[in-house]
Symmetry: C2
Subunit: 462 residues, 2 copies
């Protein structure tokens, strides 16, 4: 694809669409939109625009499409695979000013939102309704970013990923056309499912300007526990048994000892430095949860659980959850001069213990520096962060090799290269191995919806 | 689209792919594949083929694509909107001989199946694993047919529709190409979601030859109840309250008095002839279910529930469920000389009482003959069957008018023209009103994947 750079007249025209305060070519704004939270190389856009209305988005896209100018949508920049880095320059559409919660319909368990709404703000706003939007990516993500990446997180094991909780979208296509997809009914068999084509498409097929989200009721009761094990593999086996027993956890998180050590150091938590499972159950009554917790403890004990500590109070639970959410940040902050790769594979649950063992061995063999294993274990999702000091090219090569071997192992186990971070820049290299011939059809769908390839170019396809 | 008819040489070639026993142009076979369970006019194919392997499907499609011969996939013929009626003749691919359960992986809560597997047979086979495939369309549908229509049913209110329980597909495209989509991980953010594009596409984008299904654990305990009301609208309000209270029913079925009367007559059940809710809850313990049932009863009483009968034993529950499953058949058999329209709208749950009242009034105004209101109330899904004696053209016009007004009312309430039956022939007229401009993009996707339009032509698009 040959793209054009932004000429002065382009800038004038685009500025005229959104007004001067919402258009910038200033260095600091370009810098702020040149990187996400991954280690991928920064790449600056030529201009940043803050749209407030779908009509503005439509006009900008129509113009950019005619002029062959790349356009990349931007949420909060919290993605972990370079997903919104504007590799080819052009325009970044920053949705932070298009952040209204348009309507909450508690009777229908639904909310209509603009893409710039911050996930945490939405749930804060919802708390008085007794409802919440569950996909829970942890980071300060926007709803638009979550939809783009089909984000998921700690609660997904029970409540599904973003794709399971979106009912309707308004999307601006590359040519500026605005289409509405889906409806407010809780189920439909009407027409081809274009909705799920846009969820997880990383801003490459269209730009979401409104979404109707499915909400769920806050649980009447919850119960949390921490279990510590002799080995990470034992913890993995307990995960498999807890899921297999149908206990339906609302969180089932694995933390290897190095993660616990880091959390202790940074959050002063005084946890036992061992392979650890954090689990939470939601239910209608306390009795029910006591019973479930008893079964979970029994299963953990069968795998040489050292300590099983149920009955965390709300404060203790919140501190642990907060530490889990912040783990990625802590890893980044612990060694600021380091570079790292975040692995995000997911495998069928029976392969989880094998996948963990393989991943840790790969990290050990890379011998490059610190490595952290953790993940949404209940979904078969493993994160492995391997890092080394910036500039150590030899170690960096070994880390990249470890990354490749872990992803190919996940694919051999019939899993996926990315459970929740999306493809972005870093996973593009695995798409052919994962999708085979269907990758060609993804390219054709891209060509159909974005014939000039202006939307977030350079991503996903190797 | 100009299609060609089957010439003798075409028949010879296709017969050579599958062998003579699995190829027929016999009258009775053509007749058997000319109609489904709807009232839509029969239309015969020119040949019926029973493939056993994906390679056969691939060769047939490649040939048919080159020769511009229509190909329509066929499951069990239980659909309700003419979905598999071969409107343009050509070849019907009957999957009844491609019906192997390829692998059950209880540890992963998954099964790999061929499309001809009958839904009920799969669950029968699974019963010893403690797992089941939940979408539950009621009829003797095949898995392939369920995927084609994104079928759902009585259990969907808790366990989701077919689209929520499919992880991976092998699809033969119109050009004969075989692609594999998805993987065995329970979640993924890898690439565009082509999987959901094929689920619910009614055999118009490709032909599914294998699927990996997500299974769920059988509940440890269940509890059922029957509640009778003064009016259907009261029952509708109770539905709204039960869903709103987050009681998470595993079934919440509405049956208007005329349905109860029919069930009593045909199944000798002796139920009270009143507007009735059948509900079921699944849970881990009896105590929990007793508590939930108490809340449900309280909510029903608030809407002048006449009788609330909890604690049905398994036999009683099974008889009721069986009667509910058979209701469509009973209606058809009760007046064999009649023709009827099955309405299948779904609306946001808060609009359910209004939608019911409107639908019943529309049926009353049509004044054409018997009308039956029932549905998967917990999903906001309403079925209204209106019938009249064959040949009464004037009454038939009024029924069609009632159908149109009910669907347009559902769309005005931000619902959908079809909650679970699919578009087929009967709903095509509403697609423009429901989807607006996104319908054009559905057509473009069709054009991309099936450029000669050979797959199930004449459906979905008005």
């Amino acid at each position: 694809m040959g793209f054009d750079t932004l000429k002065d007249e382009d800038k004038r025209y685009i500025r005229s669409i959104v007004s001067s305060e919402r258009f910038s070519t200033g260095e600091s704004n370009l810098d702020l939109h040149s990187r996400d939270m991954s280690g991928h190389r920064a790449s600056r856009p030529e201009a940043v625009v803050w749209p407030k209305e779908r009509a503005e988005v439509s006009r900008i896209l129509r113009y950019a499409d005619q002029r062959r100018i790349p356009v990349t949508a931007w949420g909060a920049g919290t993605s972990l695979e370079g997903n919104p880095i504007p590799l080819q320059g052009g325009i970044v559409l920053d949705f932070s000013q298009m952040d209204s919660i348009l309507e909450i319909r508690p009777d229908d368990f639904q909310a209509d939102v603009e893409p710039g709404v911050i996930y945490k703000d939405l749930n804060h706003k919802l708390r008085h309704t007794g409802l919440f939007f569950p996909p829970d990516p942890g980071a300060g993500a926007t709803i638009g970013g979550m939809i783009a990446n089909n984000a998921s997180g700690i609660r997904t094991v029970r409540y599904g990923a973003t794709k399971d909780n979106v009912l309707r979208l308004v999307v601006v296509l590359a040519n500026g056309e605005i289409i509405e997809i889906g409806n407010r009914a809780s189920k439909t068999s009407s027409g081809f499912d274009l909705l799920h084509l846009f969820v997880g498409s990383e801003g490459m097929l269209g730009v979401v300007v409104e979404a109707t989200l499915r909400l769920v009721g806050l649980p009447a009761e919850f119960a949390s526990a921490v279990a510590t094990f002799q080995t990470v593999e034992d913890a993995g086996k307990a995960v498999f048994d807890i899921i297999g027993a149908g206990l339906d956890p609302a969180a089932l998180e694995l933390l290897a000892p190095e993660c616990i050590d880091l959390i202790n150091r940074q959050k002063n938590l005084g946890l036992h430095i061992s392979p650890t499972l954090f689990m939470e159950f939601h239910g209608p009554t306390r009795n029910h949860l006591t019973e479930v917790m008893g079964i979970a403890e029994g299963l953990c004990r069968e795998h040489d659980c050292r300590e099983f500590r149920p009955g965390l109070d709300r404060e203790e639970r919140d501190r642990l959850l907060e530490a889990r959410y912040a783990l990625g940040d802590m890893i980044r902050q612990d060694r600021p001069g380091h570079v790292r790769i975040s692995i995000d594979v997911a495998v069928p649950i029976s392969a989880y213990p094998e996948m963990i063992a393989f991943a840790r061995e790969a990290a050990r063999k890379a011998g490059a520096g610190a490595a952290y294993t953790f993940g949404h274990a209940g979904d078969g999702n493993i994160h492995l962060v391997i890092e080394t000091e910036r500039g150590n090219r030899e170690a960096w090569q070994r880390i990249k090799e470890a990354n490749r071997s872990v992803v190919h192992k996940a694919l051999a186990l019939k899993g996926t290269a990315t459970g929740e971070h999306g493809v972005g820049i870093g996973k593009a290299q695995f798409m052919e191995a994962e999708h085979g011939r269907s990758l060609e059809w993804m390219k054709k769908v891209k060509q159909l919806l974005d014939p000039h390839g202006i939307l977030n170019p350079g991503k996903m396809f190797p």
